[in-house]
């Protein structure tokens, strides 16, 4: 909660948080917000302009663009978040194990991480989609497969750092079990690291999934997804440019909010960063985060 307070002090961060939270809520309760069923086709309204009952107009099948935009939050943002969560849990678990027990487990896990990290993200995603076929599920699977190694790496480092901390050593001496130590001492400290990596990967993943949908490799019809909406608008891009506008702006708004939030989170968690800390490790971490952020796009 202290963290939240510190975050909210920054006005930009507060606004970003509001945008992200609102997006998530609207997506979660899409049926309440959407004025029409998102997949209801009505050829009479093909390419109709904005009207009172269809605020953003209609697409090539006469479907309500606003409703599709709202339902599009689910695959574009919510599912990405879920995949990120899965990758984070999986990676964090392995990272904990590796960092805490060290030894051979650590060595093996880190070699596996090395291999995973040596596949560039976009290439791996394309490989999985290429072999298993286009589709949202396969892309999300590819995300989990690709991203867990990042989490495992960073969590391992964090755990090793904290495992050597005096208070953890003290707890060991007191006879606390492995699980207890992890839960009480290491997990809370490492959580902030997870939050930072996750938030910085989030924006790029949103961009990536919409990019793949744009190429026709992502979500299947008739489901609404922002990249897919742009793909559909693409064929009439110059006759009806307004169709590109809504999904494009939605992506920009959400991604920049997520990125701002990620930055603010980083600063709030590590005030040293704000005054450009001296620790090279922090700096290197920041660097890698920056890199990851644009692995997509």
């Amino acid at each position: 909660m202290k963290l939240l307070k510190r975050l909210l002090k920054d006005k930009l961060a507060a606004a970003s948080l509001a945008v992200v939270a609102a997006t998530l809520l609207i997506g979660l309760f899409a049926p309440l917000f959407a004025p029409h069923p998102p997949n209801e086709a009505n050829m009479e309204l093909r390419f109709a302009g904005a009207s009172w009952s269809y605020w953003l107009g209609n697409d090539h099948l006469g479907r309500c663009i606003l409703s599709r935009l709202i339902y599009g939050i689910r695959p574009s943002v919510l599912w990405v978040l879920a995949a990120l969560g899965a990758a984070a849990c999986f990676g964090a678990a392995l990272g904990f194990v590796a960092g805490y027990f060290r030894g051979r487990i650590d060595a093996i896990l880190m070699r596996v991480c090395d291999v995973m990290l040596s596949f560039p993200g976009y290439v791996m995603t394309l490989a999985i989609v290429g072999m298993l076929g286009a589709g949202l599920a396969n892309i999300l699977l590819a995300f989990v497969v690709m991203k867990w190694a990042w989490f495992a790496r960073v969590i391992r480092t964090a755990v090793m750092q904290y495992a050597d901390a005096d208070y953890v050593k003290f707890a060991k001496v007191l006879g606390m079990g492995h699980f207890g130590i992890m839960r009480r001492h290491i997990a809370p400290a490492a959580l902030s690291e997870i939050a930072v990596i996750a938030s910085s990967a989030f924006g790029s993943m949103i961009l990536q999934i919409s990019g793949l949908s744009f190429l026709g490799l992502g979500i299947e019809a008739p489901h609404a997804e922002w990249g897919m909406m742009m793909n559909e608008a693409r064929s009439v891009m110059f006759t009806r440019p307004e169709l590109m506008l809504a999904p494009g702006l939605a992506i920009i708004a959400v991604v920049s909010a997520v990125n701002f939030l990620s930055d603010a989170l980083q600063k709030a968690l590590d005030p040293k960063l704000a005054v450009s800390g001296k620790r090279t490790s922090v700096f290197a971490g920041g660097m890698m985060r920056g890199l990851r952020k644009k692995e997509a796009a």
């Binding site: 596949f119 560039p120 394309l126 989609v129 110059f238 644009k294």
Partner: protein
């Protein structure tokens, strides 16, 4: 130093083996029986179970996995990735030229990204918190949040259609580079600019700068020192940037009909041309690993402190 290089290169071999093996078994994920695919590609009119079995034997599919992997690896090293299912041409005859075209795009873009991010990064770090810094950071932030295809559409509409300055697509002349390169540069310069900037800033706060300043060394000479030190760090980041950009030109290539790897791969995925996908994954993964090691070694050569750490 020699030892370090040896160690890194030594670690490279097993990594490459594992990567190639993963790529090899990737093909097993595909839902199609390779024997059947080959028969269809040959246009055999009626495919019987016996014929499939015979073809499997002919393709060596009944042999142990490792033996097949070994053959495949040997062939791959000689750039023999088999034939495309769709066109029947050798994969490398399609992938090779596409790789060259993508490399051209990547290298030109990388040069611009590096130049732009160094210039902006240094300027912004020296004017930290002033309007130049703030505005450049703000704009770069917004631009990195933009989907590449959206930006591309916008730029095509404005520069190619409205102003009629540049071609809309293809790779016909030097002008063809302008728009795709611009889209890639805009997408990435923001990130690398931040790396340079924060590297500069952290160096500016180092003790030696304070000490130097206390000793009355002129600010300009200090700045030069800081610049040199920060760029050393940036080099390793840029080393990594090239393969990342190489792997992510997919969207841009598709929009601008650039005859490169990205276009080829997307077409292959949509045409279920598995040998091409497999070769693409292998080539890029290997390139990524090599660049990675290369930039590490380069970095270690420039910065002896790092060598001990690793």
């Amino acid at each position: 130093m020699g030892l370090y290089v040896l160690k890194r290169v030594g670690a490279l071999a097993p990594l490459l083996v594992v990567i190639s093996f993963l790529t090899f078994i990737l093909n097993g994920l595909s839902p199609m029986d390779p024997a059947e695919v080959v028969l269809h590609a040959q246009g055999v009119p009626s495919i019987t179970e016996e014929l499939i079995a015979a073809t499997r034997a002919e393709l060596g599919m009944d042999r142990p996995l490792l033996a097949r992997y070994w053959d495949w690896l040997l062939a791959s090293i000689q750039l023999d990735f088999g034939d495309s299912y769709i066109t029947g041409k050798p994969v490398w005859s399609l992938l090779g030229p596409a790789l060259m075209n993508t490399l051209k795009l990547t290298i030109v873009s990388s040069l611009f990204i590096i130049a732009l991010s160094i210039v902006l990064g240094v300027l912004c770090a020296l004017r930290e918190g002033r309007w130049l810094d703030l505005s450049v950071r703000g704009v770069s932030f917004l631009l990195t949040s933009m989907p590449a295809y959206w930006l591309a559409a916008l730029m095509v509409w404005y520069f190619a259609v409205k102003l009629d300055l540049l071609p809309t697509s293809g790779m016909d002349s030097a002008n063809s580079y302008v728009l795709p390169v611009a889209v890639i540069v805009i997408g990435y310069a923001g990130i690398y600019f931040r790396v340079v900037r924060s590297s500069m800033l952290s160096n500016l706060n180092e003790d030696y700068v304070l000490y130097g300043r206390a000793c009355g060394i002129p600010e300009r000479r200090l700045t030069m020192h800081v610049l040199r030190n920060s760029l050393q760090v940036a080099v390793s980041v840029f080393g990594l940037a090239i393969p990342i950009i190489l792997g992510s030109t997919v969207v841009v290539e598709n929009i601008f009909a650039w005859p490169g790897l990205g276009t080829l791969t997307v077409t292959s995925i949509l045409g279920r041309d598995f040998p091409i996908i497999q070769a693409y994954v292998l080539v890029l993964a290997v390139a990524f690993v090599l660049f990675n090691t290369g930039s590490d070694v380069l970095n270690a050569a420039m910065n002896p402190r790092l060598r001990k750490e690793l």
